[in-house]
């Protein structure tokens, strides 16, 4: 870009001002306050406009207000410039209004305002140079002594500031650097704080949150304890209420029982009064018996009983005496008979008990002996049966066979009967022989000779074998027949004989066996009969001895007597003597009894007399006693006794009435009266009603005795104590609960504060996260920018520096982190930091870095015009010459507008311009017309 012409209608101190610019260097020469800086500001305003203020930027302190024309009108300007592509553009701006207008026209073309509009602003500088105003100011606008990027005294400081300036330009076109942004974020992070910094907002929130967590948990614990205690309190209240109900119930029952007892007592009292009256009447009615000899009642009773008893005994004795008279006669008659009988029996024998026992034994032995004698009949019968058996044996036809030979005969008969097999064998041999012959014939007929011979042979062998066996058995049978003939003489031993013999021999054997048994029996019976006969003799002797002992003479039968009869006679005699003795004893015993009986009957008569006298005496005593009691003696004893008992009864009733009356009066004097009972009942009914009881229940209530009442009082007391204990505990718990309620913090309040702290903590953490994220991203972006820009800056600066210093510096390095610049000189082998090179070189590098940044940042391809305002104000001549030479060379690519108040600068510039005259725009103070030397002349009116 090459500035061509500036026209100012009014801008600051300039009014109706115009200036044409040299394509390379234009020097604005004038005194201070002559408008040099105004021209440079106008150029920038033409390219980028003026800030008229806005949010946070007061209008009255804006550039728009600052550069208001001092003349107050014509606030406008126009700039004509050329672009690298040959186009010439004219920017006309009018600043009368805050929202100023701008028009951009291409000379020879049309209105291109829209093409250079960025948002709401028209910015041809931004569009055509590719850099915004900030970058333009930072890179192309150099102030006093500002060829270097920073002003400072020490080289190191200057170098550092330059690096910062580069960094600022690189990062934000002259605004905030990445590092500054990170510092601002760090500051913000500091404001947020951290969880561990208790003094920071976040730390405070976290700490408070922790405290609140504890407090909330404590409050919850307290509330749980409170709830548990409330439940306990409720249980205690229920317990107390239940106990109280029990107490009231017991008291109600006590009162009901007591009232029922009072009612009963009252009724009893009323009945007592009635009874007193009754007793008084009773006592009055029996007053005449008050002295009745009640004490004699027992005596009278005993006497009366004695009279009755004696009378009854006398009557009974008389009756017995009368009834015993016939008996006594009979007894006496019987005794006479007995005496006659005893006399008739005479004196008794010498048969004592031993003799009787011996007689009994003798009789038993006799019976046994006689039983033995009766065996003779059996002996006869057995002898008969023996003879019959012998006859039967003889009838068998084999009587000659002894009992011992019968068994052998039976065996021999079986052997002898084996001769029948011989016929069978012969028959079998014949059959076999015939069968062999038939087989041989058939075989021969069928022309089977060999088979015929075999069959014949077999038949022959079989026949021989059969005959041999038969021969063997036939020999034994014959032997047996011979023995049979000896054993059974006279018996035919042919086949039939053998068969008969075989049938008879078993019978013969049985008969022999029976005959042997009968023989044995006959012998036995014969021995027994003989023994009985011997014993009978012995018995006869014993009987005689007994008779002698008993001094009796048995009755002898006629003729010879057997021993049995002798014995029986003795036994009969002993028995008869024993019978007479027994009869005598019986009669004597009966007589003794009758004698006693007779005596007894004689006593009855005497007893009757005695009893009659006793009855009379008792009656006399009774009469005397009754007469003492006032009972008429004329009455029969029974009636008198009844009268006496009636008197006793009356006396007792009188005495009982006296006692009862006394007792009733004593009870009446001891107990309450009806009125006091009524008063007590009323009082108790009131107490009952106060306890929820119904007095109507009294009628149905059971009167309770003292023990029951005591039990109820105990029950009531226990219930009362239980209620009191529960109530006391409940009261204590209630008080504790009240204290707890007063001390337990409101959980909702704590939770509110906790929620606020929690939100503050979360907000702080979120802010920290966002800030850290922003810092991270800015750091990354900064590193990326630096990494990208540093080589490009180094290349741009190196290229120009080599040209401008004629190869004195071969290379330039720009650090990527903080844009530290170092140079590689042609005569040195290593990079040299910028702070150790000369001032001039450093200024050159600074200016080149500005331009490089503008180029790098713009990318538009247009050379950025340099607006230098007193750039070498403090430079010495040598340094100024060097700098001007550098600027002249630089103006080949970048137009330079240089303002100065030092005319020597123009001269110095002419000395380095290779003979070309630089354009000089002189701005004299106070003059309205600016005269220029050289090719450019501009007219200015200064106010």
């Amino acid at each position: 870009m090459r500035l061509h012409r500036l026209e100012i209608g009014g801008f600051g101190r300039l009014s109706d001002f115009s200036a044409d610019f040299d394509p390379r260097i234009t020097v604005l020469l004038g005194d201070n306050e002559s408008g040099k800086s105004t021209v440079q500001r106008a150029l920038r305003a033409a390219l980028y406009g003026l800030d008229a203020g806005g949010p946070g930027r007061p209008t009255d302190r804006s550039d728009w207000a600052r550069w208001t024309p001092w003349a107050g009108e014509g606030y406008s300007l126009a700039l004509t410039y050329d672009l690298g592509d040959g186009r010439r553009l004219r920017v006309a701006r009018r600043f009368e209004q805050r929202d100023h207008t701008c028009q951009v026209q291409e000379i020879g073309g049309g209105d291109v305002t829209a093409q250079v509009r960025v948002g709401r602003t028209v910015s041809p500088g931004l569009v055509h140079l590719g850099i915004d105003e900030d970058v333009f100011c930072a890179s192309a606008c150099v102030g006093e002594d500002g060829l270097r990027l920073g002003a400072g005294d020490a080289p190191a400081a200057r170098a550092t500031e330059m690096q910062e300036a580069i960094e600022r330009l690189a990062d934000s076109g002259g605004g905030t650097t990445g590092a500054e942004a990170l510092a601002a974020i760090s500051d913000a992070i500091g404001r947020v704080g951290s969880e561990r910094r208790s003094g920071s907002p976040l730390g405070r929130a976290v700490n408070r949150l922790r405290q609140l967590e504890v407090q909330v948990e404590d409050a919850r614990r307290s509330l749980r304890a409170l709830a548990a205690d409330e439940e306990r309190l409720r249980a205690l209240e229920v317990t107390a209420h239940t106990a109280e109900e029990r107490r009231l119930d017991a008291e109600r029952r006590w009162l009901l029982g007591r009232l029922a007892a009072i009612a009963a007592q009252r009724a009893d009292l009323e009945s007592t009064d009635a009874e007193v009256a009754q007793m008084a009447a009773e006592m009055e009615g029996t007053a005449q018996l008050a002295t009745f000899p009640l004490e004699a009642e027992d005596r009278v009773a005993s006497l009366a009983a004695e009279v009755l008893e004696s009378q009854r005994a006398a009557d009974e004795a008389r009756a017995r005496s009368e009834a015993a008279a016939p008996q006594l006669a009979e007894v006496r008659r019987r005794r006479a008979e007995i005496a006659a009988g005893l006399r008739a029996l005479g004196r008794g024998g010498a048969v004592d008990d031993a003799a009787v026992a011996e007689a009994s034994a003798l009789e038993r032995r006799l019976a046994e002996t006689l039983a033995g004698r009766r065996r003779s009949e059996e002996l006869a019968a057995a002898a008969g049966r023996r003879e019959a058996l012998r006859r039967e044996i003889a009838a068998t036809g084999v009587a000659g066979t002894s009992a011992a030979g019968v068994e052998a005969a039976i065996e021999l008969v079986d052997v002898a009967r084996g001769g029948r097999s011989s016929r069978v064998a012969k028959l079998g041999a014949t059959v076999a022989l015939c069968a062999g012959a038939v087989a041989a014939a058939l075989s021969a007929a069928s022309r089977h000779g060999l088979w015929a011979l075999v069959a014949a042979g077999v038949a022959l062998v079989a026949t021989l074998l059969i005959l041999s066996v038969d021969r063997l058995f036939a020999g034994d049978a014959e032997h047996a027949r011979r023995r049979l003939a000896r054993l059974c003489p006279g018996v035919e031993l042919d086949g039939e004989g053998l068969e008969r013999l075989a049938e008879r021999l078993p019978r013969l054997r049985a008969l022999h066996a029976e005959l042997q048994r009968e023989d044995l029996r006959v012998e036995t019976l014969a021995a027994e009969v003989e023994t009985a006969a011997a014993r009978l003799g012995e018995l006869a002797q014993a009987a005689a001895s007994l008779a002698s002992h008993c001094e009796i003479s048995p009755v002898r039968s006629r003729g010879a007597r057997s021993a049995e009869e002798t014995v029986r006679d003795v036994l009969d005699a002993v028995s008869g003597a024993a019978g007479i003795d027994r009869r005598r004893e019986e009669l004597s015993a009966e007589d003794a009894i009758l004698e006693q009986r007779e005596a007894d009957l004689d006593d009855l008569a005497g007893d009757t007399t005695a009893r009659r006298r006793a009855a009379d005496a008792a009656r006399a005593r009774l009469v005397r006693v009754l007469e003492l009691a006032g009972v008429p003696s004329s009455l029969p004893p029974s009636e008198a006794v009844v009268a006496f008992r009636a008197g006793c009864t009356g006396r007792r009733r009188h005495d009982a009435a006296i006692r009862r009356l006394g007792e009733l009066r004593r009870r009446s004097s001891l107990g309450a009266d009806v009125k006091s009972l009524d008063r007590l009942a009323v009082e108790l009914e009131a107490r009952l009603a106060a306890r929820g009881g119904d007095p109507a229940d009294i009628a149905a209530a059971e009167p309770l005795d003292h023990s029951r009442l005591q039990d109820l009082e105990t029950e009531s007391e226990h219930a009362r104590q239980g209620a009191v204990a529960a109530s006391t505990e409940a009261a204590a718990l209630r008080a504790r609960l009240a204290a707890m309620r007063a001390t337990v913090p409101a959980l909702a309040d704590l939770e509110d504060e906790r929620a606020v702290c929690l939100a503050a903590r979360d907000r702080g953490l979120h802010q920290l996260a966002a800030l850290h994220r922003a810092a991270e991203l800015i750091a990354d972006a900064t590193r990326g920018i630096h990494r990208d820009l540093a080589p490009r800056l180094a290349a741009s600066v190196a290229e120009r520096l080599a040209l401008l210093t004629e190869g004195r510096y071969a290379a330039v390095n720009v650090d990527t982190s903080h844009f530290e610049v170092s140079l590689l000189g042609g005569d040195r082998l290593e990079l040299v930091p910028l702070d150790v090179v000369s001032h001039g070189t450093r200024d050159q590098v600074s200016l080149l870095l500005r331009l490089a940044l503008a180029e790098v940042l713009s990318g538009a391809g247009e050379g950025v015009p340099l607006l230098l305002d007193e750039p070498l104000l403090s430079a010495d001549p040598q340094r100024r010459a060097t700098a001007l030479r550098f600027l002249w060379n630089l103006s080949a690519t970048n137009q330079v507008v240089l303002s100065t108040s030092d005319p020597g600068m123009v001269d110095a510039l002419e000395g380095v311009c290779d003979g070309q005259a630089p354009a000089v725009l002189t701005m004299p103070s106070g003059a309205s017309t600016i005269e220029t030397t050289g090719r450019v002349i501009a007219m200015a009116r200064l106010l």
Binding site: G54, P55, G56, A170, D171, S172, G173, G175, T176, T177, G178, E180, A181, L182, A184, I185, A188, R191, V192, L223, R224, L226, A227, A228, E230, E231, R234, E237, M740, R741, V744, A746, L747, A748, D749, E751, D752, E753, R754, A755, V756, A759, H766, Q767, A770, L771, R773, A774, A775, L777, I778, D780, A781, T782, G784, I785, D788, L789, V856, L857
Partner: protein
Amino acid sequence: MSTSLLHLADLHLDRAFAGMGCQGELAIRRRLGLREALKRAGHTAQERGCAAISIAGDLYEHDRAGADTAIHLADTFASWAPIEVLLAPGNHDALLSGSIYSRTEWPANVHLFDTAVLRPHPLADGLTVWGLAHLEPAWQGDPLACAPVGGDGGVHLALFHGAELGSRPDGKSIHGPFHADDVRERGFAAALCGHYHRRRIDEAGALVYPGSPEPLTFDESEPRGAVLVDVAGDGTISYEPLTDNRWHARTARADVSSARSLADVVDAACAAAAVACGGLDPDRTMLRVDLVGEIDHTVSTDTFTVETSVRDGCGAVAVRARDLTTPALDLASISGDGVRSAFARAVAEAAEAADERQMAVLDDALRYGLQALGGAEIGLR
């Protein structure tokens, strides 16, 4: 002869109000306000001759129930005698062991439904109220899962805490889900419900949600109060919604797109707040200011300053500001080689793969970064 009930629910005694920006004295006032609302309901019931007051759950919040809440409730209910108080515990005040319901000796005029299935409670001749209790905070049973009632010619009302699935607000938790169609199918003339904090009277569907008597969040606008349910002698039911809330919740939207400074933001917020709070008692008004629009990233939207300014401006007792703005920044338009543009590009790249939480961090990181790179003091959000 008609019978009237006053139906309310979702009182949420002892609730924490930090979510509305309340703490300390103000939160205490809010909680006292809830107790006052309960007392007002009792007075209203007495004035209107109600036979009963039905409370369909969430009477208090079990987790935050204070030490004196049980006593307060028992005394309050006792003062309403002979009006019957029918309590149907909900999810926030479930009938747990050790809960206020279970450890308090209630006055005789209180009937506590204590089963998880509907149980009848005869209220008047021919009028029966069936109620149930949540026995656990996360109960998911169907309150209307019962055998059909009625058939005796009487009127049967259901009282429970449940979520009608057909009208469930977005994000509202589900406790005791049911369908409105089941109300009449089960033979109930009406279902007196609780759980939804917004009033809903659906005469056709026989469904009543009275809503919370006082606003509990900024989204709970008026009208608020109990619902008077009148059961005529012929069985017809009429509803009269009452409006007696003492507290107000408002949300003001302030468009700060044109703001060039925090002062502009505050001005816009105050203007919106003034409109929102117009005619309300500022001492009982809780205001939420939502800052919306695209705003220059260099402009601070310090919500604390906004809240303070708005509170001073409109006098609302509680102001909560939400910064819902988006930075007026076209990342694509930030060109050049500077750190600023590189940073913006880096943010844009990171945002492509970020989730919601990371996006929130990046959004603030972009604002903070641009403010830092612009040389402005970072206004923390």
